[in-house]
Symmetry: C2
Subunit: 388 residues, 2 copies
């Protein structure tokens, strides 16, 4: 833990089959006016919407509907939500959905009373909120982003072909989150495995950075081992509560700041994936899986010791009689086999990318400083071409 | 994660070489009157006392001294601290020390205004506080108990030969904690390794319980791997900042409720150790190390699958050609070798126990329900005799 840090994560998590029973008590802590934000309406088919409405009515709330949050929430939708909050003096934003809805709710919470253009302030200049922050609560229905217990809020600007995340401080974290693994049972398999790879990528992108011996990396290895085990079980049987609950909890801890403490992090895979997504609107987790192996194979020589450790501690590669390179490559081969087993996309062509838009994607790719190799534009293009 | 749970850990941690720089800002959040609780005065020799006083003065506080907190804080000391708080209308209890001082501060925080006898209410009837809770802050100088980020508060009653812990809810957690690994450099080696084994025992006692596949156990394995690595480095060079910082952070996460979520836990080793301590006043971590191997070898046949997993995932035992029992026993042998390497006590005779007080220790040993075997009194006596 060579770095200095402040850790504070005040989100209260209610986890398990009866987690929603805690919702009324949580709602009672806030004022009367609740904006209910959700996505395309699947929560109306699976009964979750009804359960939430019942809790809101029991708690005597006025409900302001805000449906239609899209998988990659846009600046236009953000402005719409912020206007509802402002016009109605909303006391609590209740996000019911996956990471996109939670992200959106947090972005709205710091945008409703923003004295400036929120896109410019938070996503171009990366400034911290200086206005009133509207509290957010969350009922999670899809797993992956960890958005239920962090300050992250990714917003897409189609006009500018940009998808950018801002990680806000603990004042913006959801005040509470309801996590019932059964709420994730009806998520289509494509979305489930996309979420699983998103989790894996969150862990990997914090893990593959830094040279020191750090407790955070050991926790990361534990989370990855749990995720690999549970994802295999969940793909075989999506109704496996034990597996789905482990995946849900791993997702939360993969991105709630814990495993980044005291160390550097990378995030280049997310930058590549977000650039692909801005040009194709492909599902987030699949954009990450499609570029990961070419990226990691590209940077492996620069972070050999860590890739060797990854192979040994996460994939149980037997090192006997092998060079460090062989061990490290065997780890990535084991990862590739696992990715094919759970069924994530491993090339960007499947996501709609063609040779002619590679340059444009490269232009949209932000370059991070924490990886084992800081990429040049030529590196980005090589990786994207290898991902086709 | 088959169990349901609520997770909330609001303690703000400032970690690193400059962590104490955050103290003034934290103090400013509370009222003027601060009770400063600390132990035998070593903080006056190593300069920590001075740094704390400087921060208190900068923040304009009135300081109420409360030194002399002993390694196993007593009910009599608890009453003394509670009286200072009550008589002076204290706004914040600032604990400067190790786990004993933090534990004591939390016990005082719920005892000062307790309408009943605190020992009877919290340590015999295990009731929750119903009175005003005085906020606690913490500057940590010794590592092991995790008390800086949890609700635990162990108190010793010499008259009754009992040492009992109560785990309070998140309202009683320290509001903030200052963790500078350098503050632990002057801790004598005996205390350092005692703290290291206390951490290991916290993890083990949550790990060795339950039959399900649970993310908490994977995180526990990561923490143990980090601790084993760092403890070896710290014993060679106690000034190794990297090692000491990893140990400090592992200690916090070993007992801040995370790795107990969604699963059962055991805690019988702590019950055995606390009984030994009540009869000998021996150092806490050493009482745990002295009884651990006999206890784990005794229950191994009842939890064979988990002991096998422990051997493979924590101690890298090579399973080739071995029975499950052989693998499991090899794991405990590796643990024993590590214990000898770092220099913890592995028998209770060294701590002052003789045959004639074994029965009395057994009478003081609380029996827990979460282990792989619920002990009988005869089991306890067998384990204690094997520990001699």
């Amino acid at each position: 833990m060579l770095g200095n840090f402040t850790y504070c994560n005040p989100t209260r998590i209610h986890f398990g089959k009866n987690a929603i029973d805690a919702l009324v008590d949580e709602l009672n802590k806030f004022g009367k006016k609740v904006m209910l934000s959700y996505g395309g309406g699947s929560i109306k088919q699976n009964g979750i919407y009804e359960q939430v409405i019942r809790a809101l009515k029991t708690a005597g709330k006025e409900i302001y509907e805000d449906g239609g949050v899209m998988p990659n929430p846009t600046v236009e939708k953000l402005a719409e939500g912020a206007k509802i909050v402002r016009d109605n003096d909303i006391d609590l934003i209740l996000a019911v959905g996956g990471g996109s809805t939670c992200d959106y709710a947090k972005a709205v919470s710091v945008s409703a009373y923003c004295e400036d253009d929120p896109w410019e302030k938070y996503y171009i200049r990366f400034e911290e909120p200086t206005c009133k922050i509207v509290p957010v609560g969350c009922v999670l229905t899809m797993v992956g982003t960890g958005s239920e217990m962090n300050g992250g809020a990714v917003i897409t600007n189609h006009a500018k072909k940009l998808k950018i995340g801002h990680v806000f401080g603990s004042d913006v974290f959801p005040k509470f989150a309801i996590l019932n693994p059964e709420f994730t049972f009806t998520v289509p398999k494509y979305q489930m495995v996309s979420g699983i790879f998103d989790i894996m990528s969150h862990i990997l992108e914090q893990y593959f950075s830094g040279e020191d011996d750090n407790t955070s990396d050991y926790i990361a290895e534990g989370l990855m081992r749990s995720l690999i085990q549970s994802s295999r079980a969940a793909v075989k049987n999506p109704q496996d509560y034990e597996a789905r609950s482990n995946i849900m909890w791993t997702a939360t801890w993969a991105l709630n700041t814990l495993i980044a403490q005291g160390k550097s992090t990378d995030w280049e895979v997310h930058m590549l994936g977000q650039a692909v997504s801005a040009h194709t609107d492909a599902t987030h987790g699949m954009t990450l899986s499609a570029v990961s192996l070419p990226y990691y194979r590209y940077i492996l020589p620069y972070g050999l010791a860590k890739f060797r450790r990854y192979a040994l501690n996460v994939w149980n590669v037997n090192p006997a009689g092998k060079t460090d390179e062989e061990i490290a490559n065997e780890g990535l081969a084991a990862m590739e086999a696992w990715m094919k087993e759970i069924g994530v996309v491993t090339d960007i062509r499947t996501l709609g990318v063609t040779e002619d838009i590679i340059e444009g994607i490269a232009d949209s790719t932000l370059i991070m400083q924490g990886g084992y190799k800081v990429l040049t534009r030529a590196d980005v293009i090589s990786i994207l071409k290898a991902s086709l």
